[in-house]
């Protein structure tokens, strides 16, 4: 019998027993859909994080206190207070490969206006910050170096603050309170929406770093310093320059390790990608296990089917089918089941990834190769788990098989 006819026979057998075929496909459908959805979410998150990080400026450099933590060693809290005013001033004075610099001090808490309040984070920055982050003041103005110098009680707020505290009314000139410090609003930021972690990027207040340091936090160190290199290509040179300045300033000589860490945006993206890849891999492996279970399900049903059709197998052998042809018939049947299940799974997985996942606000992008791989995996599952039932059929004795009731 030629392959085409074998396919016809197998498809008929599957179609003649729709309910059972569907049930044996169900595992594959769910497994494949799960794999595709996981990969789509993984890929989607990666893409959106990348996009976000690159809109933040690919030339962004972040200096954090403490040695490089990637080794996983815990550091004592004093190591986190190494970035001081003197560092900032010296960077500003000597920078060649760096355009903008802003120290950063943050404070989280409740902000109040009249009877309204909301939880937010106050970012203490220099006026350079908006240029580094490529943020835009939509109404009013940003604070100036003068305000920084005086530790002025002024703030630029995000759109969410405007909605939450002012019900959308014009907030310019109004005074809000944060940790009992009154601050006059002098500007409103253009809306940025949510980022891929689901964080509201409009729920921010930006104030002069001196204000946050002295009046709110009463601290003498920065939580970080953000800079922008002249161009992305000059990031490495800028890192070199900053390292030089800070080591000198911190009196680190010879073998002494840096008590700060400088990360470029490119590196951040790399780290993010690797983390996302790991998470995706774990999820996909979990989903792949369900495919293994689905394969065993198919094998079960095929074994039952072979036993039920003993008489048919006997007849086919009596009229001239060889064991190999019988084996191929059942192997193809099992592949037809797993591939049909796989195609339905791809359809379900694709639809869910494209239409349902975005509805719940998660990023998703189906990688084309995940569809090809799923398809191939289904073919392999069909052959692998169809093999034992097919052998069972092929090894039947025609005399006994045909007498079987």
């Amino acid at each position: 019998m030629n392959i085409l006819n074998l396919f016809k026979v197998s498809i008929n057998a599957v179609a003649n027993n729709k309910m059972r075929s569907f049930l044996s496909m169900l595992g594959i459908i769910i497994g494949v859909a799960a794999v595709i959805i996981m990969m789509a979410i993984g890929q989607g998150s990666k893409e959106s994080i990348r996009k976000e990080l690159s809109t933040m400026g690919t030339n962004l450099l972040t200096i954090r206190p403490g040695a490089d933590m990637r080794g996983g060693v815990r550091q004592d809290p004093s190591a986190m207070q190494t970035l001081k005013m003197a560092d900032y001033q010296r960077i500003v004075a000597e920078k060649k490969y760096v355009t903008y610099v802003s120290p950063e001090v943050t404070s989280g808490g409740q902000v109040i206006y009249g009877n309204n309040n909301t939880n937010t984070t106050v970012y203490g920055e220099s006026p350079d910050y908006l240029d580094i982050k490529q943020w835009v003041v939509e109404e009013g103005d940003c604070f100036t170096e003068e305000d920084v110098h005086k530790a002025a009680k002024v703030a630029v707020v995000g759109k969410t603050i405007v909605t939450e505290l002012f019900n959308g009314a014009d907030p310019i000139g109004k005074t809000i309170r944060f940790k009992s410090i009154p601050m006059r609003i002098i500007g409103v930021l253009k809306s940025k929406g949510y980022n891929s972690w689901g964080m509201d990027q409009d729920n921010v207040i930006i104030a002069p770093y001196t204000t946050v340091m002295k009046r709110i936090n009463a601290q003498t160190y920065f939580s970080s310093i953000v800079c922008s290199a002249i161009t992305e290509e000059l990031s490495d040179a800028a890192i070199e320059e900053l390292t030089q300045i800070l080591r000198e300033n911190h009196k680190l000589k010879g073998e002494a390790v840096d008590d700060f860490t400088i990360r470029s945006q490119a590196e951040m993206m790399e780290t993010m990608s690797t983390t996302m890849d790991t998470v995706t891999l774990i999820l996909v492996v979990a989903a792949a296990f369900s495919l293994l279970v689905a394969g065993i399900g198919i094998m079960n049903i095929m074994l039952v089917s072979v036993t039920e059709r003993t008489k048919e197998i006997g007849l086919r052998m009596a009229v001239g089918a060889t064991g190999a042809v019988i084996s191929l018939q059942f192997l193809i049947e099992s592949v037809v089941i797993s591939v049909t299940g796989g195609l339905l799974g791809i359809l379900v997985g694709f639809s869910v990834s494209e239409f349902v996942v975005p509805m719940v606000g998660m990023p998703s992008s189906v990688p084309a190769w995940s569809i090809y791989v799923s398809f191939l995996v289904c073919v392999v599952i069909g052959i692998l788990f169809g093999y034992i039932p097919a052998q069972k059929a092929a090894n039947m004795d025609p005399i006994e098989a045909i007498r079987h009731e």
């Binding site: 019998m1 030629n2 003649n16 048919e312 009596a318 001239g320 042809v325 005399i399």
Partner: protein, 254 residues
């Protein structure tokens, strides 16, 4: 005796065929040395008490099994040393089986059932298969029921489809095991009429049956007992099944 010198073509030749089964420590001697020749165009019935070895003999003739000793030559081909696959091919080309319980494929049309043996013969394409199947169905009087499904047919019709399936590959010999065993008297005679027609067209038929009456409609009768031939007689006075059918009372629902 059938052993006389004869110019007719020998289709089947058994030479001292023995078939023993090992059941635990016991040896069941189902065939204890059977020899005979069957010539082209004979209509042979094989009879004998239950357990006398009729089915075992038919399995040998149908190349479904091989002898423990002795030789079986089918249409000039020695079978005993053949591999499983070679025997499958031989069955496909030279044997037509009719089983007691029809053995049609479920939910499958008459034509498709009849095409089945040709599916395992790569010399036929789809068109040739269908043509051969239609011809075979016409030969058994089902030319107007080609697309009927197996579960929409009566026992007699199903057995006709099974006979058409056995004929479709132009076999050297037609083997039937209790082919009328599941049918009522009237339908059994209809089947006999059909077998006699095939006999007259020159088909070689071997028909295993419990019913001694059927021997009167065949050209030769072999009687088995305990795995040996007890009697092998030529019937010179073959009765007409058609006449016997006409003499039967008509079934009620006709």
């Amino acid at each position: 005796m059938a052993e006389e010198k004869d110019s007719r073509k020998v289709v089947i030749e058994l030479q001292d065929v023995k078939r023993y089964f090992q059941v635990g420590s016991e040896t069941v001697k189902a065939l204890r040395g059977v020899s005979f020749k069957i010539y082209e165009g004979e209509f042979v019935t094989i009879q004998g008490t239950s357990g006398s070895g009729k089915s075992t003999l038919l399995n040998q003739l149908g190349c479904l099994d091989t002898p423990t000793s002795g030789e079986y030559i089918l249409d000039g081909t020695p079978v005993r040393r053949m591999s499983k696959n070679q025997r499958a091919k031989l069955r496909n080309r030279k044997i037509g089986f009719v089983f007691q319980n029809y053995n049609l494929l479920a939910k499958t049309t008459a034509v498709e059932n009849v095409e089945l043996p040709l599916m395992y013969n790569n010399k036929y394409n789809a068109k040739q298969r269908r043509e051969a199947a239609i011809k075979a169905l016409q030969a058994v009087g089902l030319g107007d029921r080609l697309e009927h499904k197996s579960n929409q047919m009566s026992g007699g019709q199903m057995q006709r489809v099974a006979i058409a399936r056995a004929l479709v590959n132009n076999p050297a010999v037609l083997l039937a095991d209790e082919a009328t065993g599941n049918l009522d008297t009237h339908t059994s005679f209809e089947m006999l009429v059909l077998f006699q027609e095939l006999y007259k067209k020159g088909h070689t038929i071997i028909f295993v049956t419990h019913n001694p009456e059927i021997a009167e409609y065949a050209s030769r009768n072999i009687n088995l007992r305990d795995g040996k031939i007890r009697e092998d007689t030529i019937n010179t006075n073959i009765k007409s099944a058609a006449e016997a059918l006409a003499a039967l009372p008509k079934p009620q629902d006709d």
